[in-house]
Each structure stands twice: as C-alpha cells, then as structure tokens.
Symmetry: C2
Subunit: 335 residues, 2 copies
C-alpha cells in the first residue's frame, strides 16, 4: 500500500527541546503539515513566524517536509500587516480565549464587526482561517454550541475559507454541507475513541484531549465523512506532545501524541472499515492539496501489513497505543 505526499493539516510541533525531540516523527512520513502557533508567547508577528519556521526546519533537517506556518489570530491584524506576512504563512489560527493549551490571548466573544477588518482582509488575500471551535460551556456541549458561531462567521464572510479544526461532533459534520466556505480537519484519535475510552474504565490521561472525545454517534458521523473522503474534510492529527510527567499527573494536560503512528493506524482503520485506498489518499493528502492550494514535496510512503509494537515513548513523549501492537508498519519512504 502506498500513499503519496501525505499532509497533516493540524500539528503541534512546540518549541525548544520538545521541538527537537518530536519534529522528525512528523517529517519522516508526512510531506508537510499546518503548524499551530500556540507557543508562549503565541506566534503573531512576521519575525516570529519566520524564526519559528527556521527552528522547525533545523529540527527536521529534511527538505522533503514543509511546515505550513500559521499566525495566532488577533482581531487587530490589518490588511497591510497581512499583506506583509502573507508569503510566510498558509493560514491563521483562531482560538477562543482560554479554551486550550496556551490560548489565553485568544478571541473573547465573536462580534462580527470587531472581526470584520481582519477577516475581510484575510478573505481578500485568500488566507484561510483555522478555528478551534469550542465555547466555554459544558465540556460535552462546547463544540456543538460553537456551530452557531461557525454559521455566523461563514455567513458574514462568504469569501473566507473557514476550517473547523479537529471536529468531534455530528453537529459539526452537518454544518459542513450547509455552508460552502466551511471545511474541516479530523484527527486520528477522534475516529477511534469516544469518552468511554478516556473515562469509561480507568481514567486514561494519554487519551485526554481538547476537544474531548464525544459520543459513539459523533464518532460514527466523523468516520463516515473520513472514510468516504468527503471533499471538504482533511486529515489533521492535532498530534500534541506533552512530557510524560505532564500527562500522568494530577491536572493532566490535554493532547494526544499520534504523529509517529498516524498513517499506519489510518491504513488499518480504512482497511477494517472497507474503505478504499483512494479515499485514504484523498483524506490524508489530495483534499488538503486542493483546499489549501499547496504543492508539498514529493514523498511516497510505502506501508506494509506487518505488526509493529509502538514504543512506550518517543523521547519522553508517550504516543497513542504505547506498548501495543498495530497492524501496519512503514516499509519505506521514497523521497
């Protein structure tokens, strides 16, 4: 089985030592990734984005992986700023204030008029807006409640490409087909787990993420559009490393680390669900090429059905399926 130029359209590479430790995990099997800007402080100037990209390229050490850079959205971004930074970025990521790791400087309230200058300029410059779509409501309702904000933004800014990031609910899936300018990324783990896997037996901190995994009917809705390679849906791992001590602690941080095993587990899932390799190729690559109009480096990943024991950690970061067997292995990467 082979996949051409896979893309991870939602990735946390962090910075400093963590970046050094985990960047190659993604670069090995992906041609590129949308890099989230929620560092401390968040990436919000041209200088910061350029410098962060350089640090990523240094950590990756491989020209066959392109980090598609993003800025941390601020309503104060104006057209001249956006024009000046346009060539350095692929998208801008909007976080509601305080909703997840390092999002304190995000947007509070979603007043269309306050957002109009920045979002209109983004639409004119064809810069997609990636959104972490959760309200501050009850944890199981946050994303479904946010759908009305997606609808408000999609209606007010019809020329703006809006990516609903890491969707986890049937409500978000339904919104996809209602608004031409709404797109979505879906993670690996939200195709596989529900809240049952996080808190139904023993509590599993390594499966704790934001948005939290939802109900079985939500997972079914996500699976359906992923397996059929719905043309507005892209793979985005939201792979989010934390050191082991930050996960296995009282007050565990949110994030599931899937980068090193994502393609292998997707291959297993698509096979198990009788979905075609064509659809897997579209879900992990072609849809993103088209939606983002990117041309990633050529890279071919050859997978084989051979059991692989997932390591207990990658440089101190515990991956999903740590110490478990998965059915597919990476046989070869052709660059």
């Amino acid at each position: 089985m082979q996949l051409t130029a896979p893309l991870d359209m939602h990735l946390h590479l962090r910075d400093g030592e963590m970046l050094e430790n985990i960047a190659k995990s993604s670069a090995h099997t992906f041609s590129g990734a949308i890099i989230m800007p929620n560092l401390v402080p968040p990436v919000s100037t041209k200088e910061e984005v350029v410098a962060y990209k350089e640090r990523i390229m240094k950590a990756v050490g491989d020209e066959t992986f392109t980090p598609y850079m993003t800025l941390f959205f601020k309503p104060s971004y104006d057209k001249s700023f956006l024009e000046s930074v346009k060539d350095e970025i692929t998208a801008i990521k909007l976080y509601p204030a305080g909703i997840t790791t390092n999002s304190e400087g995000g947007v509070s309230g979603f007043d269309v008029e306050e957002l109009r200058p920045a979002l209109t300029a983004m639409a004119e410059l064809n810069i997609p807006l990636c959104v972490h779509g959760e309200t501050n409501g009850f944890v199981m309702d946050r994303e479904a409640e946010f759908v009305s904000i997606y609808e408000k933004l999609a209606t007010a800014f019809p020329k703006l490409k809006i990516i609903m990031e890491h969707i986890t609910t049937k409500e978000s899936v339904q919104a996809l087909d209602k608004y031409e300018n709404l797109y979505a990324t879906i993670t690996l783990h939200h195709l596989l787990i529900t809240l049952d896997d996080v808190a139904g037996g023993m509590l599993q901190p390594h499966l704790f993420c934001k948005p939290i995994a939802k109900r079985p009917e939500d997972r079914s809705a996500l699976l359906k559009v992923a397996l059929e390679a719905h043309p507005k849906v892209m793979f985005g791992s939201d792979s989010a490393p934390h050191p082991r001590h930050a996960k296995e602690a009282c007050g565990c941080a949110a994030g599931v680390f899937t980068a090193p095993i994502a393609l292998q587990v997707l291959a297993e899932l698509f096979e198990k669900e009788n979905a075609s390799l064509e659809n897997l190729q579209a879900f992990v690559s072609d849809n993103a090429h088209r939606i983002y109009a990117v041309t990633p480096p050529k890279k071919t990943i050859i997978l084989e059905k051979r059991s692989f024991k997932v390591p207990s950690d990658y440089n101190g970061v515990v991956p999903m399926y740590a110490d478990e067997e998965i059915a597919y292995s990476i046989k070869e990467v052709q660059k």
Copy 2:
C-alpha cells in the same frame, strides 16, 4: 450548627492497611455507615461479614460508630442462608459484573426469574437491596439506561426495598417518585461537580469516580432532592480511598475520598443554597434512620463557620478539596 447522629449510607472502608489508615476519618464524625462489601474476594459469607466487622471495629476503636454491614449479592443466596446471616447484615449490595472496583463477581444480565429466589427471600426477611445501577453502555448513559432495570426489579419485587446507590442523573431522580419501593443515596461530590470539573479543564483524577459526574441538569436534579431532604433520599458519601499512586497514574482508579470533610462541606453547601438545617439533618441522618429502621449510637457534631484548610492527604489518601480552604470546621463531637 449541630447535627445529630449523622449516617453515611454508602461507604468504602477497604481492608488491611488502608482500613487502618482511613476508618477513623468516618468514625470521628458519623454515628454509622453502610459498609460496602467489594473487597477481594467480596464479602459473601457469614464468617466473612463477621470477621470484616471485627476488623473494622478494631480499626475504628470507638463504640460510638456502627458499621452497618452488607453482603456482596449473589443470585445463589437462598432463604436459609439469608436467615442465618440476617442478624449480621443491614443490607445486600448488588453490583453488575465488572462495573466498578472489585465487582468482577457481580450480576450479569438481570433475569427476574434467576433473581427471584434470592430477592423474594430478601423481601420476606426485610433486607434492603442496595444497587450499583449502571449498564455496560456509553459512560454518560450507563445510569439512565439502568433505570429500566430498576423499574423491572421494583415492579417484580414490590415488597423489596431497593436503594439506588450514588445516583447521578435526573432520570434516577424521576424514578424515585414512580415506585414506592425505590430509594436513593446521593454522594457529596455529585452534588458539587459535573463532568466539567473532571475533564473540562485539566484532567482531574481525584474527581474521577463511578458513576462519573454527569451534566449540569443532572446535578441540579440531585441538588433539588437533597436540599429539600426528599424523604426517600439519604446521604451516602461513596467515599472511596485509593493510595495517591493509584489515582495519579496512567489508568487512574475510580473513587473520590470525602469522608473527613463530608459534613463540613455539606453544611457549607446547604447554607449557600439557603436550605434549612432541618433538611440537612434529615438528609444526613433522619431519612436513613427511618428508611433502614436503624438506631445508631448517639453522637452530636458541632460545626462552626471557621475556615479549614484541607490537608493534602490523609495517610497517603488525597481527599476532595486537598490543600483548599473550606468554610466549616468540626468544633466538637459529643458522644
């Protein structure tokens, strides 16, 4: 403020070193408690229940606390066995198989005919049946799904007193008023938290329990019947100690340890919600006296409104509100 003969109608005292470490926490402020039988192996013979009671009394070292003993329900219990053990127990606890800590030997399926001999004998001998009411379904639905089993049992065995233990949902609250022979216990933590507190911010293992905390509207329904001291509702802490390492780990065990702070926090909650001291007295004592027809040792707990900093642990067990301030303190215990 004073409370007379408080009772904790659902308590885990464990065994061995843990029993020694935590038994006094309950005995200090409660006149008695229904003691759960889910040891390894579960308490299921007369000899075991007598021996366990002796170990508890030794650990407590105080005649002003009565452990109301229970057996671990087995469908094979027959009338002659129940007659022989009747004087040693106050109730029998039914666990669905595998539903919580040490419940592997519980009931699978709820076939009325299979249960009829044991439950008919219990009704005749006036032994209440305490039930952990959860199915093996999706974690947020397990208790609501179990309501139909409560209804089936309540209908098939109208003379059997059935206690819905540690209820967490509005569906269970509604069932209370539909069947004369259904009663309920409610924990402290389910009056205070929802899933948001467990998994809405960082993951909080010390608030992880079974049944898991539910939605805001569920908590409201529980609060209503607790604050009004609904005559069929009793306080049962489900205080369930685990050593710190079992809670702050990958695969955290379920249980919240509230015994040492339960009365103080209930006093604060009832005051904050403008409920009367009379209702608090009924909720933590009088309702249980009447429902179970027990006469616990005389004990008066005098509480005062004075801030108390909850210790970070009690002999290695982390309590709810560890290191936080609560508004009420125990001033004096009169025996």
